[in-house]
């Protein structure tokens, strides 16, 4: 099968890859670009473990074709920390022990970051609704929600 050449931007850097039309963006990230931070949980858009930003919008990369990334900007979990410095959300997830096995964590972090970008003072209920598309079978969600609320609080006071 002939492959399609795709030029895109990933975490701010230009990237090019060849893929078959049936491959998802998640397949491409993991298998062709070695960006294995995004996880495949369900592959049908239910669990959110593959969450990425596509042109500034939170999406499941398992529900995007790789060829659709042509000319667009993709942000993944690999772009979240700056070198050795963790993003505040990553730091808070550690402090609150908001993870156990870690498979859902990249998706939660990408989704939570997207929330705080549009709302720096979310209520607990807003956090829970926003993250309803991210499933975790270990933590029971409480620690995750608290970590997100705590990060939002810190980010607000840092700005004040």
């Amino acid at each position: 099968m002939t492959k399609t050449a795709v030029s895109t931007t990933i975490n701010g850097d230009a990237a090019e890859f060849l893929c078959e039309t049936g491959e998802t963006l998640l397949d491409v990230l993991r298998d062709r670009l070695d960006l294995t931070g995004s996880k495949e949980g369900c592959g049908t858009g239910d669990c959110g473990a593959c969450s990425v930003m596509l042109d500034g919008r939170l999406v499941c990369s398992c529900l995007v074709l790789g060829v659709e990334a042509q000319g667009r900007a993709v942000e993944t979990i690999e772009g979240m920390a700056e070198g050795e410095t963790l993003h505040p959300l990553q730091q808070k997830f550690l402090e609150h022990a908001a993870l156990q096995c870690g498979v859902c964590t990249p998706g939660f972090l990408v989704a939570a970051k997207a929330l705080l970008e549009v709302n720096d003072d979310p209520s607990e209920s807003q956090v829970r609704y926003w993250l309803a598309g991210n499933l975790c079978r270990c933590t029971g969600y409480d620690k995750i929600v608290r970590a997100v609320l705590d990060t939002a609080k810190d980010m607000r006071s840092a700005r004040a």
Binding site: G45, R57, L58, C62, V64, L65, E68, A132, G133
Partner: protein, 287 residues
């Protein structure tokens, strides 16, 4: 599987018409990619409509709103004017899936996927929404409720695709609402649903109404009889009782894992009644 991303609706229609095997339209992909994954034979051609300018925005037109077929739900939810004019339609579309799904899923896709339980469809039918169909010939406009003909089936001919959905200008003192019942609290498929759109006169008497039921038949049910039960009333308790009974009588659900026939029949009436009260209050009626 060939992938094409044409720049015009004409070009998309030409591609679809010329396809040798099966062809699928890709908007948000939240149904198509799941179907591909669940073992559907891959189509020979996928036509991505997100590069078509006429399908990619929300425009005001003759006092109403024209929503492009490639506009994701999240963008609808962020449009304050649209939310103010048609809150029921925007809320119905906003109920579909998670934040991630909202970033991709489109109302036109929801319509053309032709699921009997599609959340936006009863709201669109109640709203009197009109779908604009592009194809090899001239564009044509048809009522949104005429798109789906049964589960997974549409009235669109080969080479045709929905270009946009038009929500008309509403008279003063109008309101709409959509409610659904799901077994969980979030992110589930409707067991029964109802969309109500009504207009009041200065005294708060209902002068026009459209009522649509979802998930209680192979396609959306637009009930003129139920609407009649509201017209001429101020939605007093007795009127609402008759209205709920008319909605239950119009429902033709099946038994499945989401509920029994009896349950869905009853709940369709309950939801319609509650939606009617919300629509009434949105129209400025006093409870």
């Amino acid at each position: 599987m060939r992938y094409e991303a044409p720049a015009t609706a004409k070009a998309a229609a030409k591609l679809l018409l010329g396809a040798k095997g099966s062809a699928k339209i890709l908007a948000g992909g939240t149904d198509l990619l799941v179907q591909l994954r669940s073992g559907m034979k891959p189509p020979g051609l996928v036509v991505d409509i997100k590069h078509i300018a006429a399908m990619s925005g929300i425009k005001k037109e003759r006092g109403g709103f024209r929503i492009g077929a490639a506009v994701p739900s999240a963008v609808m939810g962020e449009n304050k004017g649209l939310g103010k004019a048609w809150p029921g339609v925007v809320e119905a579309t906003g109920l579909i899936g998670s934040t991630q799904i909202q970033g991709r899923a489109t109302m036109a896709g929801n319509l053309c996927n032709a699921s009997p339980a599609a959340d936006s469809v009863p709201a669109l039918a109640a709203a009197g929404a009109v779908a604009r169909i592009a194809g090899p010939g001239k564009r044509r406009d048809i009522p949104a409720e005429k798109i789906a003909t049964g589960p997974g089936k549409t009235s669109l001919k080969k080479g045709e695709l929905v270009e946009s959905i038009f929500l008309p200008k509403r008279p003063p003192r109008s309101g709409d609402a959509y409610l659904r019942f799901i077994p969980r609290t979030e992110m589930d498929i409707a067991a029964a649903s109802a969309g109500v759109n009504l207009t009041l006169d200065r005294k708060g008497v209902c002068t026009a109404a459209r009522v649509a039921l979802g998930a209680v038949g192979p396609r959306v049910i637009l009930s003129a009889k139920a609407a009649k039960a509201l017209i001429g009333t101020r939605l007093e308790d007795s009127a609402l009782e008759g209205f709920a009974a008319a909605c239950s009588a119009a429902a033709t659900p099946i038994d499945d894992k989401r509920g029994t026939k009896e349950f869905k029949t009853h709940v369709a009436g309950v939801l319609a009644r509650r939606a009617a009260v919300i629509a009434y209050e949105r129209a400025g009626g006093k409870p």
